[in-house]
């Protein structure tokens, strides 16, 4: 059996060793399977583990590479996807009892692209039901944070983040509608990347809200995320909303780490002590110092309506989700999780005038983000208020005041830091940037212009190259 350090190695480094014949894909898959066996019962990272097919694909990859048929940096690399993306012949549930017996009839485009790149599919990763969150009763086990099992790993791409943090896979895919990649990545100390809306195909992906959903890479390093993004991005005839813009060579561009003259703006609302805790603020302060030392020009900008996303985002997502699930809700209401049921009912009867107003408000908030990016290259701020919050039971909400505080409150929800960029459609990423006093990760959020994933990635990689936050391992692993 391989030494466990291989489980935490970056995907890029694993790929180099596999190509050179210094690391066996079969041994790597075996290592991850052993670790999944050890830790999955505690973490609930995976919903389905495809041990047999993963080993078979790894054996084939080993033979192909030995025969000189190398497919690229994902060849022989163990990957897993959020249980949201269809996989031919594999159970895909959307994290719901409603699809407990659903088996994919074909691969989602992103899955097909991973396979074509030679990746080894390890299985599907746990998620909040239909990617809404917060799920009250997880049918496939409550996801737990490897940094502290009593803490919430964030959602909805919970399993993707926990599997990476605990060394149960090399790279993963998540889905992000308002922060569902970036939130769990922050809580678990890994990298989460949301591309520009339309950059990556959503074909074969259970939707939450069509006008906001994005699929993106999650990884232990920015370099890994860039490599995965390059594989999955680009026009897809099966998804007419995908952009036909050429896909840049992210995996090469990420190495341009010169920040001289880069224009960085700190978003006031993401660097303000009224909701952001001291450790998250300190992480941003360190990042600012780093960028300035590298010759970047750092300024401050305000997104005045950023906090109103707590209403605008659900004003869009709840009706869209309710519409998508209507047939199943009518026929199998009680098979849905409590939170999904309540959220869907709100979306069903939200007055149309207000749903339309939410669409207009989206434009105003999105324009604030895009205007802020007119004169700078990236916007930065905290990725959350602080370290992961405790896993707690959620009692039913009985009053509007309670709902305003607990569902739509500014509070500590990571969504406060992420949703504005989903509404704007811009690329955005969180990278590990420190720890709080309970040894829980905090992150730096970096957002860029529409379709300028490259700048976001290279800024993140430059930051990561100068820090070691991403190299630490959680106690469980």
């Amino acid at each position: 059996m391989l030494d466990e350090r291989f489980a935490f190695m970056s995907m890029t480094e694993q790929g180099r060793m596999i190509r050179a014949g210094d690391l066996s894909p079969v041994k790597l898959v075996e290592l991850y399977l052993e670790r999944i066996e050890l830790y999955n019962a505690k973490l609930n990272s995976y919903i389905t583990v495809a041990a047999e097919s993963a080993l078979a694909r790894a054996r084939r990859a080993e033979e192909e590479i030995a025969a000189g048929e190398y497919l690229g940096p994902l060849h022989g690399i163990p990957v897993a996807v959020k249980d949201q993306m269809q996989i031919q012949g594999m159970r895909v549930t959307g994290g719901s009892k409603v699809y407990a017996n659903h088996v994919g009839s074909r691969d989602a485009t992103v899955v097909a692209r991973l396979r074509a790149a030679g990746a080894v599919l390890m299985g599907t990763l746990n998620t909040h039901e239909f990617h809404m969150g917060p799920t009250v009763n997880f049918p496939y086990g409550t996801p737990r944070n490897p940094w502290n099992l009593e803490r919430n790993p964030g959602g909805s791409s919970s399993g993707s983040a926990t599997a990476l943090a605990a060394g149960l896979v090399s790279a993963a895919l998540g889905g992000d509608t308002g922060g569902s990649i970036r939130g769990p990545a922050t809580a678990c100390g890994v990298v989460g990347f949301k591309p520009t809306w339309s950059r990556v195909s959503r074909d074969g992906v259970f939707p939450l809200a069509w006008t906001l959903d994005c699929v993106g890479p999650m990884a232990r390093t920015v370099e890994d995320a860039a490599t995965v993004l390059e594989v999955i991005a680009g026009r897809d005839p099966r998804d007419p909303t995908t952009s036909s813009r050429p896909v840049p060579n992210y995996s090469q561009q990420v190495h341009d780490t010169s920040l001289e003259g880069l224009r960085v703006a700190v978003v006031k609302e993401m660097y303000s002590d009224d909701i952001t805790g001291p450790h998250a603020l300190a992480a941003v302060t360190r990042a600012i110092e780093f960028f300035e030392a590298q010759g970047a020009l750092v300024s401050e900008v305000s997104l005045p309506l950023m906090r109103e996303t707590r209403f605008v985002s659900p004003g869009l997502t709840k009706p869209e989700a309710a519409s998508y699930h209507r047939r199943n809700l009518l026929e199998r209401y009680m098979d849905f999780d409590y939170n999904t049921r309540v959220s869907s009912m709100v979306g069903t009867i939200l007055p149309a005038g207000l749903a339309s107003l939410a669409q207009r408000a989206r434009v105003v908030i999105g324009k604030q983000v895009l205007d802020a990016l007119e004169n700078v290259d990236v916007l930065i701020g905290a990725g959350s208020a602080g370290g992961a919050v405790p896993i707690v039971d959620r009692p039913p909400i009985k009053t509007k005041a309670e709902a305003l505080e607990k569902i739509y409150g500014i509070g500590k929800a990571a969504g406060q830091y992420t949703r504005a960029f989903s509404l704007a459609g811009t690329p955005a990423m969180t990278v590990p940037a420190g720890f709080d006093d309970e040894n829980l990760p905090v992150s730096l959020h970096i957002a860029g212009r529409l379709f300028d994933e490259s700048t976001v990635l290279r800024v993140g990689h430059a930051f990561q190259s100068a820090t070691d936050w991403h190299g630490r391992r959680p106690p469980i692993a």
Binding site: T196, F311, V346, T348, L350, Q359, R360, T399, Y408, F451
Partner: protein
């Protein structure tokens, strides 16, 4: 009839929400109806307050920024 304790005159009450859901084909458990009512009233209030930002009279974006047929946004 049950009421929501902090409901104001503009809030929907349980019976109104029950009726709206029934119109859409849903009959849901009572405790869920309470939370749906609370959450709906909160969301209506939050979104209604957005109208104070006067420049919402814009057309909703064509959110499909990379829509097929074009090579850019």
């Amino acid at each position: 009839m049950s009421t929501i304790p902090d409901s104001s005159s503009t809030d929907l009450d349980l019976e109104q929400v029950r009726f709206l859901l029934k119109q859409q084909g849903y009959v849901i458990p009572e405790e869920e109806l309470v939370e749906v009512t609370a959450s709906l009233n909160a969301l209506i209030e939050g979104l209604s307050n957005m109208e104070q930002y006067g420049d919402l009279q814009n057309e909703p974006w064509p959110v499909l920024v990379g829509y097929a047929g074009g090579d850019d946004a």
